[in-house]
Amino acid sequence: MTEDEIFVKIKEIFQDILDDELLEIGLDSTPKEIDGWDSVVNIDIVFAVEAEFDVKFGLEGIQSISKVSDVLRLVKSGLEK
């Protein structure tokens, strides 16, 4: 899976969970910039992403998320394992 393909799927998960099909996110988007991405929603997103790609981020991984690119990085390293 290419990085772009992963990103598109992550974006769809953000759109589903935040219930906004027009939501645009970028790799540098942070929770502050994306409306509704609070700590509770973050966990919802993490578990949806883990399930989608069948990967595990681990506690340290989850803690390290501060922008969208972190999610992408965690998926990539999960898929490489």
Partner: protein, 594 residues
């Protein structure tokens, strides 16, 4: 809404929660609105979001209150103002074994551990009595899942000091309390976690990061289980199972394979699965679920199959058997009409995807779960969708199946009389009408919360409300029981009046659909009038509030001789009857007023 049917696809439900919610809310369902307080010993946010979906699916539109994190006990016992102001219709105490305060230590004596168990139990019962006193609403309490680890290995369930044993003792206490207390219900997560497997239940990461007591994959199972209890509390449980025959009740097609060719019974691998299913539905029938058949078959073949000597059921277990070649949707409508129950109290089991879809498309109301070809999937669909959840084992429930069967006999009898009055006389009906008595509080509550058709106001009440009416001097609350030569229908009618100035206002008037067209409403009203006169009141005021289902009584007040007084904003109407205008009618029922 298949997506919320068993087998639950948690990934889809988790991701598409918001979209599914919108779809459910957009349906034209007449939702029952309820205020539900979820008091958590762990995080509640995601749990509540999933629970909302399953409640909507069951026809309940919740407004939620969520406690501060972990504050379930404090908010109840200290009666937190926000919770009191919310004034819940129902409380869910969402705890798990993470909320057990003190665990036994290996060094403690059996007596010391016993006192720990006692203090844990006291802490719970203190909370329950505080909740009952402050809120007077039904309470659903999670019991406790077993701990993930066993410090004593297999001895953990034997030794007093073992955590497993400790949890089992607390659970037993929760169950015993529920058995005694009518408005207290157990959400059995001990069962649910064993069914799903403790390893799948607890997710250490999710606990560490978000303080959820169980894994996301469990949310739908948990929510479905709670929603089933809530639906049962508010009387929205299904009543009737509609079963296909070929490849549902036995393996094979009886019309082609013949009685000896179908697979049923312990002698074949395939037949054993169908036998298990027959045993399962037979047991459902014994606890009050009405069993019916809807099958594309010749009637004689259907009856022969149901009487198969190796099966567990007999034809007499079924209240209605419709075996013909008409579309199933039509037969299902006829089954509901014959039993006089709503289409939404039916559950239809058919192995054919075509028939399931035909029914889904053509009839609004029945639940049609997705099943595979395997009879064990029928059982799981019935179990996990919680259609027939009940909150108590009442005598009425057990008798219900036979009541519907005798009703079918009455219908046959009715055909023999050209004059309906002659038919009524031939039934030799006897009614017992009396003021509310404590032994009937539970049945009265059940009837008040379940009855939709013959119900003038559709006010719903709890057991404690009923006890309150019975004791209130200003209330006039009577019930009616009806029996005839075919059998006892049980307690089937309720009429509650509240005195307001110089008028008696009918707050609630309802009657079970079992006894429609038997004139019991006239007998009830006549006794009601007699009591009103004794109280020296000269006017009765009736209120009609229309719902989707109570059209059968839209002209009741008019039929009883009331005058229309005014129209209400909600489409309802108020009616008055000056008692000098009242004329008793000949209702063909011998009344014993107690």
């Amino acid at each position: 809404m298949h997506r919320l049917d068993y087998p639950f696809d948690w990934k889809v439900i988790h991701r598409k929660r918001a979209a599914i919610r919108r779809q459910l809310l957009a349906s034209e369902h007449n939702f029952l609105e309820k205020k539900i307080a979820v008091l958590g010993g762990s995080s509640t946010e995601g749990v509540v979001k999933t629970l909302e979906l399953f409640l909507l699916k069951k026809g309940i539109k919740p407004t939620f209150y969520e406690s501060e994190f972990g504050q379930y006990w404090e908010e109840i016992v200290l009666q937190k103002k926000a919770l009191v102001d919310f004034s819940p219709d129902l409380i869910l105490i969402h705890t798990s074994c993470e909320n057990i305060k003190i665990w036994p230590k290996p060094s403690q004596s059996d007596e010391e551990v016993a006192s720990l168990v006692k203090s844990e139990q006291d802490r719970l019962s203190q909370m329950w009595s505080a909740a009952a006193e402050a809120f007077g609403c039904p309470i659903i309490q999670n019991n406790f899942e077993l701990p993930m680890t066993r410090q004593f290995g297999n001895l953990d369930s034997v030794l007093a000091q073992g955590k497993t044993n400790y949890v089992l003792q607390i659970n037993k206490f929760v169950s015993e309390f529920a058995k005694e207390e009518k408005s207290f219900f157990v959400n059995d997560i001990n069962f649910l976690s064993s069914q799903l497997g403790l390893q799948n239940w607890f997710n250490e990461e999710l606990w560490a990061t978000a303080r959820y007591a169980f894994d996301h994959s469990v949310f739908p199972d948990y929510a479905s289980n709670v929603a089933s209890i809530v639906a049962a509390i508010f009387g929205l449980t299904k009543k009737c199972l509609v079963l296909d025959l070929d490849n549902v009740m036995w393996g094979g097609v009886i019309g082609d394979d013949g009685l000896n060719g179908v697979n049923i019974g312990p002698d074949s691998l395939v037949g054993e699965g169908f036998l298990s299913f027959q045993r399962y539905i037979k047991a459902l029938g014994e606890r009050g679920v009405v069993l019916t058949v809807c099958s594309k078959n010749e009637d004689t073949n259907a009856m022969e199959g149901l009487a198969h000597p190796d099966g567990a059921v007999t034809p007499s277990d079924f209240s209605v058997v419709r075996a013909n070649w008409d579309p199933k949707s039509e037969n299902i409508k006829k089954i509901a009409a014959e039993l006089n129950i709503g289409l939404d109290s039916l559950v239809f089991i058919d192995d054919s995807p075509f028939e399931r879809e035909q029914v889904r498309m053509q009839v609004q109301g029945p639940s049609v779960p997705e099943v595979t070809k395997s009879p064990s999937s029928f059982i799981m669909a019935i179990e996990k969708n919680g259609y027939f959840e009940s909150v108590s084992l009442s005598v009425e429930d057990i008798a219900r199946n036979s009541i519907y069967k005798t009703n079918a006999q009455r219908k046959i009898k009715q055909k023999q009389f050209s004059n309906y009055d002659d038919f009524l006389v031939s039934l030799c009906m006897k009614a017992e009408i009396s003021k509310f008595k404590p032994i009937y509080y539970e049945r009265i509550t059940q009837l008040i919360n379940k009855t939709n058709q013959f119900n003038l106001t559709t006010n719903r009440y709890s057991v404690s409300d009923i006890a309150g009416f019975a004791k209130d001097e200003n209330c006039l609350s009577i019930y009616g029981k009806l029996e005839d030569k075919f059998g006892d229908n049980g307690l089937v009618a309720v009429l509650i009046g509240k005195q307001c100035n110089d008028e008696m206002v009918i707050d609630t008037w309802l009657m079970s659909c079992r006894v429609f067209n038997r004139n019991l409403e006239f007998a009830m009203f006549n006794e009601f009038v007699n009591c009103v006169i004794k109280k020296d009141i000269r006017r009765i005021r009736g209120v009609f509030r229309p719902t989707k289902k109570n059209k059968p009584v839209s002209s009741l007040f008019q039929d009883m001789g009331f005058d229309r007084d005014k129209d209400l904003e909600d489409g309802g109407s108020e009616w008055v009857l000056p008692l000098e205008k009242y004329k008793s009618s000949d209702y063909k029922i011998e009344v014993i007023y107690d």
